[in-house]
């Protein structure tokens, strides 16, 4: 499997987790959406997203990184960063 395919699969999983936690429909969520301003994500929901990344993607995110999660690109970036082989 190519790295692009892995990345695409991962992104879809990340996106689904975000949709589930924020309880929104897929059409509502764009790359430009702000989790906080557009969907009212509070600190607890942000932690829940990180927690689901760890549980459902089998990755490990350092505590210091689990502070801000403003939008989808940030979510993709952190999931990809810690899904790299060196972090598995």
């Amino acid at each position: 499997m190519s790295s692009t395919a892995i990345s695409g699969d991962l992104r879809e999983k990340v996106r689904q987790i975000v949709l589930d936690v924020l309880e929104i429909d897929t059409a509502e969520l764009t790359e430009e959406s702000s989790f906080i301003d557009d969907f009212g994500a509070d600190s607890l929901l942000v932690i829940e997203m990180f927690a689901r990344f760890e549980r459902q993607l089998g990755i490990r995110i350092p505590k210091d990184e689990m502070t801000d999660l403003p939008d989808l690109p940030a979510a993709y970036a952190i999931a990809e960063k810690y899904s790299e082989p060196s972090h598995v």
Binding site: E23, L44, I47, A51, G58
Partner: protein, 371 residues
């Protein structure tokens, strides 16, 4: 009836609080109306035979309650059953009450046993089964704390006054009323929403089943009843009842001592209410749904009333054995059944740990439409 009980008269020296509204969710259905009379309303208790995790035990969930409809669907899955019931009952109690003190002078006190058993056990299950023990659901963590039902009810209602959670098995509702009465008396709040909540869980049901702890024909139940309590004589408008006394006590010396203590507690409460046993028109016993404990309570009532016991309002068949919500549902049942001329109801409650408590409430004649 003595002058001190005159509902429209001046404030009796002995009253504790006026009940000016309530929100009730029980196996009999929503509101006080569902609690009128005795015997089953809708629906019949379901038995666990239809659900794999449950014991072969009659179980009676709250009827006629759609959490998503009442509370909105967003975030509802993150709430424990106790939180849902408490939020809905607090909202209903406020809705049913005329405007009064501001949000900062209105508090909430809820009685519970240990909060949401299911929330705690779900979190613990994750700590044992996930790849790493801390991979629990963070949004589920607040719900594992006893404080969460009252805390969420405050967020939902916007009430910023005193917010307390008290624990104590079947007596929990009386602890909550006592706390509320003291808060009013000592100026910590001008209005209190006071009540108690219990949720069903398969784990608890198995414990009741294995312990053979339910009386015959009594389903295991859940529920929540919350009452708007105002300092006596301070609120305008309709009054569902006036609490004249609420007393609790404790003994570690076993069932016989609990009987004696309950009798003593009832006598104290009647004296503080300024009434006698002969003034009591209805008794609402709390332990009828629990095997063995009904006799303990019965012995105390015989000691107080002798042969002249007033009629009992039996609620075990109406709302089931709702454990920590028990005393609050007893109070709801009393308010729902005042009789045409009103009267004086005595609620009694005993816990397996040695707690005993009672409440004396004066009921107005024909309150008309009840919420």
């Amino acid at each position: 009836m003595t002058a001190v009980l005159e509902l429209d008269g001046t404030r009796p020296a002995t009253a504790v609080a006026d009940i000016t509204g309530c929100g009730v969710l029980s196996a009999a259905g929503p509101g006080l109306a569902a609690l009128r009379g005795t015997g089953w309303r809708s629906p019949l208790p379901r038995t666990a035979s239809d659900e794999p995790d449950w014991p072969p035990l009659a179980v009676a969930p709250v009827a006629g309650f759609d959490p998503a409809e009442t509370l909105g669907s967003r975030g509802i899955a993150r709430l424990s059953r106790s939180e849902q019931l408490a939020m809905a009952a607090c909202l209903a109690a406020l809705d049913a009450t005329r405007e009064g003190p501001g949000a900062d002078r209105t508090g909430i006190v809820l009685g519970t046993s240990m909060g949401s058993a299911r929330a705690v056990l779900d979190l613990l299950r994750d700590t044992f089964q996930q790849a790493r023990p801390y991979l629990v659901n963070p949004s589920g963590f607040p719900s594992t704390m006893m404080v969460s039902a009252a805390g969420r009810a405050a967020i939902r209602t916007g009430l910023t006054g005193v917010n307390a959670t008290v624990s104590g098995g079947p007596v929990a509702g009386l602890h909550a009323v006592r706390y509320a009465a003291q808060a009013l008396r000592n100026g910590h709040a001008d209005r209190m929403l006071a009540g108690a909540v219990e949720e069903l869980s398969p784990e608890a049901a198995w414990a009741w089943h294995h312990g053979n702890a339910l009386a015959a024909d009594t389903p295991l139940a859940e529920g929540c009843a919350v009452f708007t309590l105002d300092a006596p004589g301070t609120a305008a408008g309709r009054r569902l009842g006036r609490i004249l006394a609420c007393e609790t006590a404790f003994t570690a010396d076993g069932p016989a001592a609990v009987s004696a203590l309950l009798a003593r507690t009832v006598r104290t409460a009647l004296a503080r209410a300024g009434v006698t046993a002969a003034d009591v028109t209805t008794v609402v016993p709390g332990a009828r749904g629990r095997r063995g404990w009904a006799a303990v309570e019965e012995r105390a009532l015989r000691a107080v009333f002798g042969a002249g016991a007033p009629p009992c309002l039996e609620i075990a068949g109406t709302v089931g054995e709702a454990h920590a919500a028990g005393a609050a549902l007893q109070l709801a049942a009393a308010l729902a059944n005042p009789g045409p001329d009103g009267g004086l109801a005595l609620l009694t409650s005993v816990g397996t740990d040695g707690s005993a408590g009672c409440l004396v409430v004066d009921l107005p004649a024909s309150p008309g439409e009840v919420p």
